[in-house]
């Protein structure tokens, strides 16, 4: 694991990627910092972070696009997967390397509120709370980017798909407002989602009986709940899709709340996508 970590970290700084990422990141945050805190004489650093959360849409794909895809393209994955390292430690090593690059950028940013101290009182707790939120949000996005990169051997495809996926999660809270809130359409939408899940299961495991029975059982359960307790479906669509709105929980940090459920949520996202990445590389070797 340590070997992979060192190698990946080094490759970020022998190629341009690491420098470009950090420079771009600091540049954008710096502009907002100057405009709000220095120029606007505001003491709230969280305003800067709240306006710059769109950065992830652009920067995470740059950071993660090559991490798995390049190995596949160069066939160096053959070296890794035939070495005595288990796939889990390879993935964790890689994730930690990307995370470290991001952490370097965050470490520099966390000096900014201290600079403000010499001009007066600064709400440091909120500032560092939102930096923590920023860090967690970034780690979740990086795990998603890592997973997407493991699905393809083209860096370009990996970057574009990551970009779109992260963009959707950012826009999700806006999109959700347009969804219907009544229980009938909730039932219909969940039925469609269920059919999609069945199709995906079939595409992955090629087992008609299993995917069909999954569909029938799921649909029966949905319908049963719909007739017995229709109130359960009220506004469920919105709640459901809000769960995917990764950025939504970040707002709590900006308002000065240390939301433990959000911390757990982000950490579980990281673990979920690392797990999926391991499964995806294991599966690609089965085909």
């Amino acid at each position: 694991m340590l070997a992979i970590y060192k190698k990946e970290l080094k490759s970020y700084f022998t190629s341009m990627t690491g420098y470009v990422f950090i420079a771009f990141f600091l540049c954008i945050i710096g502009i907002y910092y100057v405009a709000y805190n220095l120029g606007g004489a505001l003491s709230n650093f969280e305003y800067v972070l709240s306006s710059t959360s769109f950065l992830f849409v652009l920067l995470v794909p740059i950071l993660t696009m090559r991490i798995m895809a390049e190995e596949k393209k160069q066939k160096t994955d053959q070296l890794l997967y035939t070495s005595p390292l288990p796939p889990v430690s390879i993935i964790i090593g890689k994730y930690l390397a990307v995370f470290t690059v991001f952490l370097i950028a965050i470490a520099i940013v966390s000096l900014y509120p201290i600079i403000l101290l010499q001009f007066g009182n600064v709400p440091l707790k909120i500032a560092y709370g939102s930096i923590l939120g920023f860090l967690l949000l970034g780690s979740a996005y990086i795990a998603m980017g890592l997973f997407i990169s493991s699905l393809t051997e083209s860096q370009l495809v990996s970057a574009v798909v990551s970009f779109v996926v992260i963009l959707i999660t950012v826009l999700m809270s806006g999109i959700v407002e347009m969804f219907p809130k009544d229980n009938k359409s909730a039932w219909a939408i969940f039925s469609v989602i269920l059919i999609l899940i069945c199709l995906i299961t079939y595409a992955v495991i090629h087992n008609v009986t299993l995917s069909l029975s999954l569909g029938i059982v799921g649909e029966a359960a949905l319908t049963l709940i719909y007739f017995l307790r229709p109130t359960l479906f009220d506004g469920l669509v919105v709640r459901f899709f809000n769960w995917f709105s990764i950025i939504e929980r970040y707002d709590n940090f900006l308002m000065g709340m240390l939301d433990l459920s959000a911390v757990i949520y982000y950490i579980s996202i990281v673990f979920l996508f690392l797990f999926l990445t391991v499964q995806s590389i294991k599966k690609s070797r089965w085909n």
Binding site: K6, K7, Q74
Partner: protein, 392 residues
């Protein structure tokens, strides 16, 4: 050392490896031989744990590659078809990384890397970036990566691809010297390489094991009869007459005349008989000087071509033969009945017919074999010419 059991690999409906089983003892060099797409690389990828088999398993040093992958992989050094190199690393960095992920002890690492670089003769490029190296050097770095940590089993997929003739010889010597302490499986479609390096050869085609033997045995047994290539000065009729007196010649092939007065021919005899002396005396009696005499055993190349291209034909031929034999048996039964009826004339007739048929058959078969041999020779000649052209 390594045991492969009933390996099957399917890609959708395509069968890449079809029920392949073999074992290999410690210290032996096994060569995989087969045309492109025969399943050599797939088999190697499965043994090294890079991809999974649809059925079957490989056991390395007592460790199953699926159930104890870490222990099994520790015993394996693998050079894939395309060397897995990081272009942005220097050679030393790369080998250091390889040693690191192969869990070579930190204290041994420096000496290990230096030794391996000396063995593969890449010490003088150790500080260069891999992307700036030529293909031959990249191949050697890949080989160095496989050797690092001195795993007991080395699996090399076409190790001499992209090397110049001098480097090929060096790598072959290296592989031979490595076999003292390592078990080696290597694949190739270059036959001379396999016969030069390997103790044993496995010919694979369409995912199936066709034959496994030592290179010498292969050319002896599958080659069948001994051939003797001659260039004789004289008249064709005279030579034919002189040769007809020699016992032990099973077949004579004449080549089309190129030079006036010089006859080129190939004599075939049984495996055990040596006809060289009698040929010499027979021809000297009729004053036809022998200009050139060379024995032709079938090269590995011929065997390879024969086995991989005609293995399906061969099976069909065997089937045909058995059908023919059955017919003969039936006829024999008919004879007995006829005898019982004391129709001696009719019997003689059928016998005569049968003989004629048998002769025809034999001739037809002979023709087929002659055609085949001529075709194989032509191919071999073409190859040689190509090689010469390449050398020039």
């Amino acid at each position: 050392m390594i045991e492969v059991k009933n390996l099957v690999k399917k890609y959708g409906d395509y069968l890449a490896v079809d029920d392949l089983s073999f074992t290999l003892e410690k210290g032996r060099i096994l060569g995989f031989l087969g045309p492109n797409g025969a399943g050599k690389s797939t088999t190697m990828n499965i043994i090294t744990g890079y991809i999974s088999a649809t059925e079957g398993t490989a056991v390395v040093n007592g460790y199953d590659i699926y159930h104890q992958p870490e222990e099994a992989k520790k015993c394996i050094g693998y050079l894939p078809e395309i060397p897995p190199l990081y272009p942005d690393m220097t050679v030393r960095e790369y080998l250091n990384f390889a040693a690191d992920i192969k869990k070579v002890k930190r204290s041994d690492r420096e000496t290990n890397i230096t030794d391996v670089m000396n063995m593969t003769k890449i010490s003088h490029v150790s500080e260069r970036l891999i992307k700036h190296l030529s293909k031959g050097y990249k191949q050697r770095v890949g080989l160095a990566q496989a050797i690092i940590g001195y795993p007991e089993l080395l699996i090399l997929d076409e190790p001499t691809v992209g090397l110049d003739p001098m480097q090929i010889i060096e790598i072959r010597d290296l592989i031979r010297s490595l076999s003292k302490n390592h078990t080696i499986i290597l694949s190739s479609h270059i036959l001379s390489e396999v016969s030069a390096v390997c103790d044993e050869v496995m010919i694979i085609n369409k995912g199936k094991l066709i034959v496994r033997d030592t290179p010498d045995n292969l050319s002896k047994h599958i080659g069948g009869s001994n051939g003797l290539h001659l260039q004789v000065k004289g008249e064709k009729e005279v030579i034919q007459k002189a040769l007809s007196s020699i016992e032990g010649i099973t077949q004579i092939e004449y080549e089309p005349n190129e030079q006036e007065g010089i006859i080129k021919l190939t004599l075939y005899s049984g495996e055990e008989t040596d006809i060289r002396e009698s040929v010499f005396f027979a021809l000297s009696d009729v004053r036809c000087p022998i200009l050139d005499m060379a024995s032709t055993t079938m090269s590995l190349e011929d065997i390879f071509l024969e086995l991989t291209q005609e293995d399906t034909n061969q099976i069909e031929r065997v089937k045909e033969k058995t059908v023919q034999e059955d017919k003969v048996h039936e006829e024999a039964e008919v004879h007995e009945e006829a005898e019982a009826k004391e129709e001696t004339e009719a019997k003689e007739e059928t016998e005569a017919k049968e003989e004629a048929e048998a002769q025809e058959e034999a001739e037809a078969q002979e023709e087929v074999t002659v055609h085949r041999k001529v075709a194989i020779q032509e191919r071999a000649e073409q190859k040689e010419e190509e090689k010469h052209a390449g050398d020039i």
